[in-house]
Subunit: 377 residues, 2 copies
């Protein structure tokens, strides 16, 4: 089958955007991809939002040489859950990222050097504001749906709160309205790992040959432990040794799980910027609409979206109880909300793996929604 | 009340001990403390074994100036669970440790330099062998009980297997017969954190002013996350900010949980050796009697001890299911085993915190045992 090629495009927000911290920052370039066609009424747009270290490349291939398609290719395409025959799907790289959108590794036009730590600390609200600018550029006033897993789900939540009249439906997958102290702790140790790498050099490493790869790799390894659950680890590795039957009695890798984590850490540093990791995890830690608006009820009170909430029973990073809290709050507010807890042994990673059941649920949610709104496609 | 002072003593094993790896290593100095009096028959000895980073100092005070007593002082003393009026309690620092017993930071008499990585990789079986040497020195042929939490519990298990005729009873608390892949993963990332600290210098840092403190501190932070459970973290910190009401919008500490972990990391480096951390976690990862003896049944088949197994329902590092596996195996073998799962919100740390209920259970287990054996005190 011929590979469907899509290009990552850039849109420049040629003004300053006011961040939650009070800082005004700009210009900001947003990397994005689109799939499908925007209809005449411009009301068939679906915004899909990536997780912690994702990119705008959500579906198709960027080139004939690409071995893997985008991160949600199983869900986005003709006849798939996010059906490109019906919807105009937009995916952007997050503010502060390192895959096209302006972040700490981008060149500050005023100094001609990378921003590094002069990049302002931002919040999930700010990341959503930046995506809204892109939608404005497209002339999109109505978002048929916003969907995201993990951090992407937080942004989807924030979209329904920040732009209540714009968002018609929201699909929140394996997400939370605020990190548990344990999840904050994991992020904090990951950041500490980067910051304590001497090559981090207070964020100024872009012109050096030695980057804070060891710190970043370690942070990624910690993250990966939280993405898998105990059962997934047993299924994947158990206590199996790496290419041997006996212990080595040294400090090389003995177990397969060690080898897996080390590999994940190593390949990560080639595609991700250490400073971006600091900024984005901080934004995730800060996300807490209940704190900002007084309560979760208050946060959701003016939303007009129809919600679909999906969680996975083996996800211990953002456990089902956190999804249920969102669902219960929405029900108390008499909002239109559907909830599904999917049985899975994949842990938090399930949102990127359990496609079949997710496809069905999302497809039916979006179809029902079409009927109700009788929107034109 | 006057502080009860105890001295940490040293015993030198003046020969080579054969390790599981095949290496013969010695001499080995063992740091130990004792509480109570060894009876004439020398059959009232109880060996208590510390967890990952503990010391021989299990009870009383080492000096008038000490603010805190030993790590199990709530359980060891006159009238306490390990009653010094009845038992002769022995506690040693683990082989490879850094609190008196020979470890990688000790001076190699052949080179007059610290062993560093020339120290042999050892196993839990080896640590038990070393403790057995100390018991031999005391002329103790019967161990009335061996007791330990976490890693100490693994050593207690190994004691019943290595010296089946010596051990009359074993108290296994918050422990496991083998680490899950997730627990191995946490240890591996901790080790990686140390090894990737440039100050680690392939283990040769003892003569340098800069030690691998950042790596070791990070490893300790990771460990601490696993010692607390989600509920304990909520109770202790929640999402409370550290001495402020608003986010700082920088990379300083925002949350109390971050401050706690950083503090734990910082104080740890003053008392622990990075190389010891590598060796001891490796021994813990390697512990797997089912692998060594073919099955857990086979491992326990010749044991003669009466067992008490205690686990805590909120312990996710060594969950109750792992204790139950031990209990079920012992029951299948028709061994004398009692099991108690204690409700607690303290996670793995519970074995160092939930004294009241543990005291009662251990006291009654040991007393019953005395009656049965009608041993002389």
């Amino acid at each position: 089958m011929k590979k469907k090629i899509v290009e990552t495009k850039l849109y420049k927000i040629n003004k300053k955007v006011k961040f939650e911290s009070g800082v005004e920052f700009g210009p900001i370039t947003v990397a994005y991809e689109t799939y499908g066609t925007l209809n005449e009424n411009k009301d068939n747009a679906v915004l899909v939002i990536h997780a912690l270290t994702g990119t705008a490349h959500a579906a198709c291939y960027n080139s004939e040489e690409d071995k893997k398609p985008g991160w949600w290719d199983d869900l986005i395409g003709e006849g798939k859950a996010f059906d490109t025959n019906k919807y105009f799907i937009i995916s952007t790289n997050i503010l502060g990222g390192c895959s096209g959108t302006t972040g700490p590794s981008s060149i500050n036009p005023e100094t001609n050097k990378p921003y590094a730590l002069s990049f302002p600390v931002f919040t999930i609200e700010d990341t959503v504001k930046v995506q809204k600018e892109l939608l404005d550029y497209f002339g999109i006033k109505t978002l048929y749906a916003v969907a995201g897993g993990s951090m992407g789900g937080m942004e989807a939540i924030q979209f329904t709160i920040s732009y209540p009249d714009m968002v018609k439906s929201a699909i929140l997958i394996a997400t939370t309205s605020r990190l548990s102290p344990q999840a904050i702790a994991f992020n904090a140790v990951g950041r500490n790992s980067i910051i304590s790498d001497p090559n981090w050099n207070n964020g100024n490493y872009y012109e050096n040959t030695e980057k804070p790869d060891r710190g970043l790799s370690n942070a990624r390894m910690i993250g990966h432990i939280t993405y898998l659950c105990e059962e997934a680890m047993y299924n994947k590795f158990g206590r199996k040794l790496q290419n041997k039957n006996h212990y080595d009695f040294n400090f090389d890798i003995d177990f397969q799980v060690e080898s897996y984590l080390q590999h994940q850490g190593q390949i990560f540093v080639d595609r991700f910027d250490a400073n971006s990791y600091l900024y984005i995890t901080k934004a995730v830690d800060y996300f807490d609409p209940a704190k900002k608006y007084g309560s979760l009820q208050n946060a959701f009170k003016d939303t007009n979206a129809k919600f679909l909430v999906i969680s996975f029973d083996s996800d211990w990073l953002f456990p089902s109880s956190q999804s249920k809290e969102i669902v219960n709050t929405l029900m108390q507010l008499d909002k239109d909300v559907s909830y599904c807890e999917i049985k899975s042994s994949c842990g938090h990673d399930a949102f990127l793996l359990e496609y079949e059941v997710q496809s069905k649920i999302i497809k039916s949610f979006l179809n029902e929604h079409i009927k109700e709104k009788s929107f034109e496609i």
